[in-house]
Structures are given as structure tokens and as C-alpha cells.
Symmetry: C2
Subunit: 328 residues, 2 copies
């Protein structure tokens, strides 16, 4: 009998599959429950990608892979888990049903985390028998490579359990960001939503195509944001006078009537079709599988490059290498 | 007498200095006009950074540096220039005065480009003697490393001159993005403005600090955006079903009442002070010069990493290497 730690992954889509890979390749046993007929095939495809890319981030050996089990029932998956991760579709009623089923079968001291990108933990806790066990752990795709996890407790979440969650996430190479105040969509997706909204306007008004918007990002500020965020970038851009100078210079722009930012374009069938066609023209020559591998190769290269400067994600990866070395 | 091409740089701040470095290190003679007493010192500081970092992007030798001249008058700087780049502060009346002075002294067939982040070329052309000569060439800091330039003509800009500008920008290692429709703030800064606005709300409401927002970016979607933009990332995230699936899943979120995105926080003294203090707590242990070098090292590493996959910025750098090799 294995004495390994057990993670239960409920819902095996792109995000659930990423969690499977993240835990499994860090030596956890993983039990999956997803009733979809092709869940096993999809998760194995994610694992294929992860097995190629994740070990390349480390300069030391990863632990031996844990054992992967596909379970026939949710109860069987969560019964002995220390970590239960819910990644079902974003509907509050589904989430409540799943939380209830999980809590009926999982250990009372397990971490029960949701991958929700939109809901607040207090919403997920509604009607729960043990609300203190529930928190949000919102990861970013591809979960097996990107370090960020937004970790969000509500006022009733057990803070000792939150600390335990931080330690576990760190141990599997992630960067838990404790979101101190509950808010719809947490932090990162609020920023992404703002860009998405403006991007839709630009397409809707015929200003730019998906390709042009993507190029405006990846040949410019996207490169900056891979290592410094918004505010630190601007601190530096302010030049020798720093942040105060920058705000004095840039701040007034907020008064400009860039009104498109203030409104939501209607997502008509026509707009959806335009986006899909432009996206096909941009990337239709690659399969999704090929794009995933290009993305993963680039992400590994980008993150490894930062190990030299011991900065941001590089500092995190180097610290993780040390931990792996001590374990191994 | 030099037969080199000449770029005139009008305004030698962070952006102007970056243009100086970009042209000079690609073998152009550069003539600078900036009446500020410390312009020469500041530009030399930018050049010091650029000389360390820019050549590291190439696997072949850069051309010999051009000749740098600080001019006593604007007329002297632009007299023999093939490219005139205006980078003075963002006030339309100043821009009009400078454009007028430039056109009184520069060759009629020179490219006259503005670094403006906000104004449309047709606004800059108001009252100009040769409006067809004027276009926007909006770069991103650090100009000597980041490839993106938003190249924006108005309806009266000479399109042959625009093509010439594209070729020159490509020859100095940049990625000209032809913005086909005039719009306030072009493309990238509209997206940045959306994030900036939402970031200010998060700070204003005490949800997150500058450090937390920056971490939410650089450990997550910032890494993605260094190589794929918004739409391509989502195409992949949609999984095997691709873009249409993603929009069907994510699109409805736009209906949610994330109302903060729809309003502008007032930039009170208190908010400015909060941001400046949080930024000091985050990065005050580094000088701006140190942060610039960390940033530049990371940018070089991130961009070089992509040369392996021949994708995006990597493809661009490899093509640039070939051009440099053919010249050298």
C-alpha cells in the first residue's frame, strides 16, 4: 500500500488535466473523477505535454511520478485525499452540488480548493456542511508550467488550512498569491477581462484583427510582463524620477474620453464568427496540439532564461530546485 | 564626409534616448536636439545599457556604430536627415510647434515620425505644410530592445513613405505593426490603459498592492503573452474544440456586473501616494539603474529563448541575424 500523498482531481478538462500533471509529476498519487467518456484520453494528452516540458524547468531530477487512478465515483476519488481540486464548469449550482458530494466523502481535514476563475469562496461555501474547508485555488493554463495560483479564502475559511495549502503549492513548484479580499474574478482575470473587452471592441470596430492585437502584445508589453508587472515596468519607465514622475505624466490620460473602455460590446453571432475566422487565418495552419508544444517550449525557454538573473520566476525555479535536491 | 544615413532625434527622454540607441547601434549617424541641460548625460546612460544588451540579441556582429552628434538647434539636427523622430511631451500644441519647426528645416522626402502614444496622425498633421510626410511611429520602452513599433498613417500620409518606414524599422531590428485605422492611443496602449485602470481600482479599493498585481501578471499571463497574444492563447486554452468553444465558454462572463471596469477611479493625491509607497516597498531596494539592468537581462534572455522555436520574436531575431550577416 502506498503511503504517498493523494490529490483528488474532480473534473478533467484543460485545467483539471493540468492539475493532474502538476501533482503527479511531483510525486503525488492522483485520483481523477470525470464522467465524460473521453476524459482519460484528454488527460493523457495533457500528461504527454507535461512530461516533456515540466522536467526541463528543473536542473535537478524530479521525484518519481505518483500513481494515476481514474475512479468510477467521486466518493472513491476523494475518500483518502489530502487535497481535493474542483475544476468543473463555471456554474454556481454545479459547483454547489459538487462541493456537497465532495464533503460527504472526503476527510474533514482535507484542503478543498476550487479552480473557479469567477466565483468568490463565500459563494462556493453557501450551504456547505464545513465551509471552513473550502477555498479558491485559481491556476493558469498550462497549469503544469505556469506558477501562479490565486489562493483566496473567505472570512470563514480555516487560515491554518490556507497556510497548509500555500506550503503544498510551493512544494509542487507553484507561486501561491494570497488574495486578501474576496472579489469577483479575483485579481488576474479582472485584468484579463479588461483587455479582452477592449480587444473585442477593436475587432468589432474593424480597427485590428486578432493577429494584429496579438502582435501588439507579444512584440511589445507582453515581453515586459513576463518578468516585471505593470507597476514595476512603469516605475522603471518613469526614468530616474521613478514612479511619482510616471504617474504625473501618464495619470492625466485617464481623463481622456477613451470611452470604448467603458462599455461592453455585444457578443453577436457576427462578432463571434469574425473572431473565429480571424483566429483561423492567424493560426489555422497549426493544430492545437502543435500550438501547445510551441507554447510550452517557449514558456520553458522564457522561464529558464530568468534563472540566470535570480529574479521573479527565475528565483522561484531556483528555490524549487533546491527543495527538490534536498528531497532527492 | 560620412555617407551614412542620418536619423534626427528630437527630444531625448527615455523614449528619445532609446531611439538614439536603436539607430546608432545599427550604424546610422544620429543627430539629437534636446535643450534640456542634462539630456546628453541621460542619453549616454541609455546608450550604456543598450551597448551591453542589444548586441546580445544577435548571433552575428552588429555594424559599426554611427556617429552621435548633439546639436544646438533643431534645424541643424534635421537638415540632412532621412528619418526624423519626434519624442517631445504629450501636449498637442507642443507637438504642432515642433512639427512646424522640423518641416521648416528637414528634407521634404524625409520620414517624419512621432513617438506619440495618444494622438492620431491626423491630429499631428493639423496646420502642417506637408501633412503627407507625417506619421506615428510609436515604440515601447526599452526602445533599443523591444521590437514593436505601431506605425500609423492618416488618410493623407504618403503610403510610399510609410512603406519606406516599414523597411527602415525592419532593418534596425524592429517589428512595424501597421495600424490601419486611426484611433486614440492606437492599439497597445488601449489595452494597457484598460489594465492600468483596473489596477488602479484594485489598489484604490484595497484589494491588492502594486506588488500583488505585478505578481499576478508576471507569474501568470505575462509569461504567456511574451510569446502568444490574447487571442492565440485563448485559442489554445479552448482545447481541441478551439476558439469557438472558448468564446462560448468565456464570452458570457462579459455579461457579469464587473462594474469597476466601467468607471474611472479618481486619481486623488491619496491614491497617488498609496501607489508610490507600495512601489517603494516593492522595489525601493533597487535603483532605477539596477532595475533597468535586471529588466534588460531578462528581456534578452526571454527573446533569445524564442530563437530556438523560430516563433514570434524568435523568428524576427533570426531573420534580423540573416540580414546583418548579408550586410557584414
Amino acid at each position: 500500500m502506498s503511503t504517498n500523498k493523494i490529490a483528488a482531481i474532480i473534473g478533467g478538462g484543460v485545467i483539471g488535466g493540468g492539475w493532474v500533471a502538476r501533482f503527479l509529476l511531483h510525486g503525488w498519487d492522483v485520483k481523477v473523477f470525470d464522467p465524460a467518456p473521453d476524459a482519460q484520453r484528454k488527460i493523457n494528452a495533457v500528461l504527454d505535454n507535461a512530461r516533456v516540458s515540466l522536467p526541463r524547468l528543473s536542473d535537478v531530477a524530479m521525484p518519481a511520478e505518483g500513481k494515476l487512478t481514474f475512479c468510477d465515483s467521486l466518493a472513491a476519488a476523494v475518500a483518502d485525499a489530502q487535497w481535493v481540486q474542483e475544476s468543473v464548469p463555471e456554474r454556481l449550482d454545479s459547483k454547489h452540488q459538487v462541493m456537497s458530494a465532495i464533503q460527504a466523502a472526503c476527510p474533514a481535514d482535507a484542503i478543498l480548493a476550487s479552480s473557479t476563475s469567477g466565483f468568490m469562496p463565500s459563494e462556493l461555501q453557501q450551504g456547505a456542511v464545513r465551509p471552513e474547508q473550502i477555498m479558491v485555488a485559481h491556476p493558469f493554463n498550462p497549469v503544469y508550467l505556469l506558477p501562479l495560483v490565486e489562493l483566496v479564502p473567505s472570512a470563514v475559511t480555516d487560515m491554518a488550512l490556507l497556510d497548509k495549502a500555500k506550503n503544498i503549492l510551493t512544494a509542487i513548484g507553484m507561486k501561491p498569491l494570497h488574495v486578501r479580499k474576496e472579489i469577483d474574478a479575483h485579481i488576474a482575470d479582472r485584468l484579463l477581462e479588461a483587455v479582452w473587452r477592449e480587444g473585442l471592441w477593436l475587432i468589432n470596430d474593424g480597427v485590428a484583427t486578432t493577429q494584429e492585437i496579438d502582435d501588439a502584445i507579444r512584440f511589445g508589453f507582453g515581453l515586459r510582463w513576463a518578468q516585471m508587472g505593470l507597476f514595476e515596468t512603469y516605475r522603471v519607465a518613469g526614468g530616474e524620477a521613478g514612479m511619482a514622475h510616471f504617474i504625473a505624466q501618464f495619470g492625466p490620460c485617464l481623463k481622456w474620453p477613451w470611452t470604448k473602455l467603458m462599455d461592453v460590446p455585444e457578443l453577436t453571432d457576427k462578432l463571434v464568427q469574425t473572431i473565429a475566422e480571424q483566429s483561423d487565418a492567424q493560426s489555422g495552419m497549426y493544430s492545437i496540439r502543435q500550438l501547445e508544444r510551441i507554447r510550452d517550449s517557449n514558456l520553458v525557454g522564457i522561464m529558464r532564461a530568468q534563472k540566470q538573473t535570480q529574479w521573479g520566476v527565475g528565483e522561484l525555479l531556483n528555490a524549487h530546485d533546491k527543495r527538490l535536491q534536498q528531497l532527492g
